[in-house]
Symmetry: C2
Amino acid sequence: MPFDTIWTNARLATMAPGQPGLGIIEHGCVASKDGRIVFAGATADMPSGADAMERIDCDGRWITPGMVDCHTHLIFGGNRANEFAMRLDGASYEEISRAGGGIASSMLATRAATEEQLVTSGLKRLDHLIAEGVTTLEIKSGYGLDQATEIRCLSAARQLGRERAVSVVTSFLGAHAMPPEAKGDKDAYIARVCDEMLPAIAKLKLADAVDAFCEGIAFSPAQTARVFAAAKSFGLPVKLHADQLSNLHGARLAAEHGALSADHLEHTDEDGVIALTKAGTVAVVLPGAFYALRETQAPPIALFRKHGTHLALATDCNPGTSPLTSLLLAMNMGATLFHLTVDECLLGVTREAARALGRLGEVGTLEAGKSCDLAIWDIEQPAELVYRIGFNPLHARVWHGQSQTTLSR
Amino acid sequence: MPFDTIWTNARLATMAPGQPGLGIIEHGCVASKDGRIVFAGATADMPSGADAMERIDCDGRWITPGMVDCHTHLIFGGNRANEFAMRLDGASYEEISRAGGGIASSMLATRAATEEQLVTSGLKRLDHLIAEGVTTLEIKSGYGLDQATEIRCLSAARQLGRERAVSVVTSFLGAHAMPPEAKGDKDAYIARVCDEMLPAIAKLKLADAVDAFCEGIAFSPAQTARVFAAAKSFGLPVKLHADQLSNLHGARLAAEHGALSADHLEHTDEDGVIALTKAGTVAVVLPGAFYALRETQAPPIALFRKHGTHLALATDCNPGTSPLTSLLLAMNMGATLFHLTVDECLLGVTREAARALGRLGEVGTLEAGKSCDLAIWDIEQPAELVYRIGFNPLHARVWHGQSQTTLSR
């Protein structure tokens, strides 16, 4: 049985577990059949007599798994450039709030947008991620904060996956912030999230997971636990925005509920790190928000290393605290601001990001049986992907075995 | 006499001096003839009966002057990804130095490269800048540190200007670092820079300006002054890497020599700021290096504002301390890390950057008589160019009146 395609003469960073570092193979090739990887390894180990409809000579270039951005808020209306400018001009948060800024402004713009408008504006951001080799990304709702708009946002996210050669994993984040019509009654709003929005969204199969924001300015651990219990009743996995601005023991809470990931984690303590590790919950760090908010307390990277916590990183693309559409830059910020190593960064946007989405069986490494999602790079060594700032050395992108020759830009 | 091209239905940020802020015109157009701007202003003010060979409807998009990157070390051999990775793995500077890292490694790779190789590797970086609307950039030598290689680097820089539709302004930076063969004798090396290299380079007309690095780890104020005097004898303007790591009063020295610009300036004091302002020397801040080096002392932005110093910003693209090839990102870093306003950022990569290169008569604003270099953006307001991180909304680029329809990527 011939293969469909063989990418030959390549250097591989397979990211396979059980291998040291990035699982590097200096003289390697990848073969696909029906959109799946059927071989990824040393050319010398290729089955003899292997043939393919198509052979692509990579000329010594590097192949990594397609990149995975495991935390984005890609779908929203408007942008917050105006408030960014006001803040630099010296406006206080109160003045910005009075001028209609903050999350309320994104919520209003999102509610006012049609699904088509949300898809159109989302595509511009998605195309930047795709141009850097992203083949799988997570997209959260959370700027609608009412049932109709949350559904429209998740539906727009699904639509992005049909418009482009990319896999979209959705998360329902109704418990992101308080809508003004809830008039500050957080318990009543959480009841609506659990008893009205979530059942409707689950019925439409629009969410692959359920997320929440556990923080003083958002929802309490008890309210978060309620959302998680509701998610479980629909068989949906959970994840959490945890310990970003203060330590509410969100990491522990996420771990107790077997969350796929706990994200941000700037204020997580060792107890929380141990709990994450034991639960197999992935710690997702988001240096873009840390940078944009000029934060000073970094997540406890040394504790993650000490305990062997799974560690991923992502863009956190959102209109307020991280208007970032470059996963390469997220890696550079992870290294520069959090002192992550090159290997931690690269594993964090491939294997570990796939694990954070519950998709490690499908994507995230170059291993036989997985979806043939590849990024092919014009580089001499993988460290270049982290070291450079504002540079994109992507040569080609492959999704489900198909080369995406025209990079959308 | 008809125009060659009219860009109609546009919003303009002319950056013209004497206008408030960015010189915004909501309903504007730009007309070109023989590669020059012959009109840029309100559509209502267009000469009646104006006609053109070609009319381009901008559909309400924004036009700014083509972007100017006034400080780059774009030409060098190799890269320093390996040493970046070693540092993150915990290697000390001494270990990296023993492994052949640091500026010595770039110097060796640059000396080993042919001019063609330097052009090829430089083009990749240049194409990233061009893709973001850069139409003029400065390129320094300074990784050769011997006469033949410095000449080869400057010649490669000139070649980049022939290979792409972009204006290249070169600076001879022989006084960048000490080559190993000089065995630590800085005065002897500076004598070679002044008495051998500079005359040869001036004769070949390869340098538009002369730069130096005044710092404890580089050259003293007295050695710098010697380089400046030599430059003057060849009629070449000067500029300076000043006060980056310590205050050697480099800003004052630059001002005293009527330098075009003084660059970095993290440690400049108020005396230095006053001297720069009086001399009309542009303060060029370089947030990419500040970010990559994890510096904590920002340049004295408040003093620049207090005294009305001309303020520009640039990528500082170089292999060691700022492997940055995005001028949009340099603006975001200027705002995020130095708290520059949106207007300061945008003027700093157009009008003020042109002034820093001594090219304000030619480029940097949308004014009749200047080269018709335009950047046309898919945005709703100029602040978006600063607010977004890792996003490129360039719609089209015009250089010398010619639309560059195919963006090189």
